[in-house]
């Protein structure tokens, strides 16, 4: 593999984002914001805790979908950005697999989760390991009874959509949701790392 993961993390973690004179951060084809992880965790936890037992799975699914859609559009913005072209594109030899590995290096560099692809069957399945992720911080409130890395789940599936789901569709009507992701291990549930398995939807 030609992707130098550490170099990408070193370079892309230096990218400083701050609101412009309008208080906005346009970039990668989207508007970006930087808020505390606790905010996103807090809403997810409160929402899931507010629904009856039989609706928890559905509520979690909606949180995953939000990340899935975000990961699809922002992921596309990332892999077509100037920053990508400068740092990652010169390393890409095998398409789309190298792009996928590069995208997870950026995913890591930006603080979403320290993730790495550990198994990939092109066009079929992918297993991602996360050694650290902000969504596991719910552990501060006691061990979770269910995995709660909804954002990582959604983004893992979205990256497979981008790699193997056909041409990017800005409307999200095709390509998006070609794959789905299940979290099979979680730091928040007591495992040493998080594990995410992506398969065809």
């Amino acid at each position: 593999m030609a992707i130098d993961r550490q170099k990408i993390i070193d370079e892309m973690s230096k990218v400083k984002v701050v609101g412009n004179e309008e208080g906005l951060i346009p970039g990668f084809g989207v508007f970006v914001q930087q808020l505390p992880g606790e905010f996103w965790n807090g809403f997810a936890r409160r929402l899931v805790n507010s629904v009856p037992e039989d609706l928890i799975g559905a509520a979690e699914g909606l949180l995953v979908n939000a990340a899935h859609e975000c990961g699809y559009h922002t992921g596309h913005g990332i892999i077509t950005s100037d920053e990508w072209n400068q740092v990652v594109a010169p390393m890409v030899e095998k398409v789309p697999e190298d792009i996928l590995h590069g995208a997870f290096a950026i995913f890591t560099a930006w603080g979403w989760a320290e993730t790495e692809v550990v198994d990939l069957v092109p066009g079929e399945t992918m297993t991602v390991r996360a050694n650290d992720y902000y969504e596991s911080d719910v552990l501060l409130y006691g061990r979770a009874t269910r995995p709660s890395a909804f954002m990582v789940r959604g983004v893992c599936a979205a990256f497979m959509d981008l790699a193997y789901g056909g041409d990017y569709d800005p409307s999200g009507k095709s390509g998006l949701y070609s794959f789905k992701c299940e979290q099979t291990k979680g730091i928040e549930t007591g495992d040493a790392y998080g594990e995410f398995v992506v398969t065809k939807a």
């Binding site: 609101g19 208080g23 906005l24 508007f31 505390p36 606790e38 979403w112």
Partner: protein
């Protein structure tokens, strides 16, 4: 009213190379896009049976109350004018938009936005909204109202009274003492 001549919000950004996490003034922060923020907002608005709107606004109020409170303590920010100036700059630096407090009192706090991440994102994603959608900023305004008055969260109830996403020229927020 507060102006930019008041206290300047200092940005201390650090990247923890071991955990691969970013910290803004000590708080673990993450970059997310307008798709994520507006989908979370839509999710909250759809969750009517579970009071999703309140859930999102109170999360915002609680989290940003703590963030600003810690900053005020660390930097010894004490005057109302400085607290307001810092809050405005924090929201701007975070990419959430240009928030200006237009009236700050013991029982009522008002703010306006000419530019808003949530509204710009909503318009870009879905087009015009039929009602105000900036629940996150409403929670933030409630937190600020409590902080400048030396009160705990839930002291103020904030509402968005004008909305860029709905077609108004500005977004406007009013927080009223309960």
């Amino acid at each position: 009213m507060p102006t930019e001549t008041n206290a300047a919000f200092e940005i201390d950004h650090k990247f923890d190379a071991a955990r691969k996490r970013h910290y803004l003034n000590g708080d673990c922060t993450v970059l997310h896009c307008h798709h994520y923020a507006t989908l979370y907002t839509q999710l909250a608005m759809d969750a009517t049976d579970f009071d999703g709107v309140r859930c999102l606004m109170e999360t915002s109020e609680d989290v940003f109350f703590d963030v600003l409170s810690r900053y005020y303590t660390q930097k010894k920010i004490e005057s109302i004018e400085d607290k307001i100036a810092v809050a405005q700059q924090y929201w701007q630096a975070s990419g959430m938009g240009l928030l200006k407090f237009t009236g700050v009192g013991k029982y009522e706090v008002m703010a306006e936005m000419e530019y808003s991440h949530i509204d710009e994102g909503w318009l870009k994603k879905w087009g015009a909204a039929d009602k105000p959608v900036n629940l996150i900023t409403a929670g933030f305004v409630a937190a600020c109202a409590a902080l400048v008055n030396g009160k705990p969260p839930r002291t103020f109830e904030a509402k968005e009274t004008k909305s860029l996403a709905r077609g108004d020229e500005i977004s406007a927020f009013k927080a009223i003492h309960k």
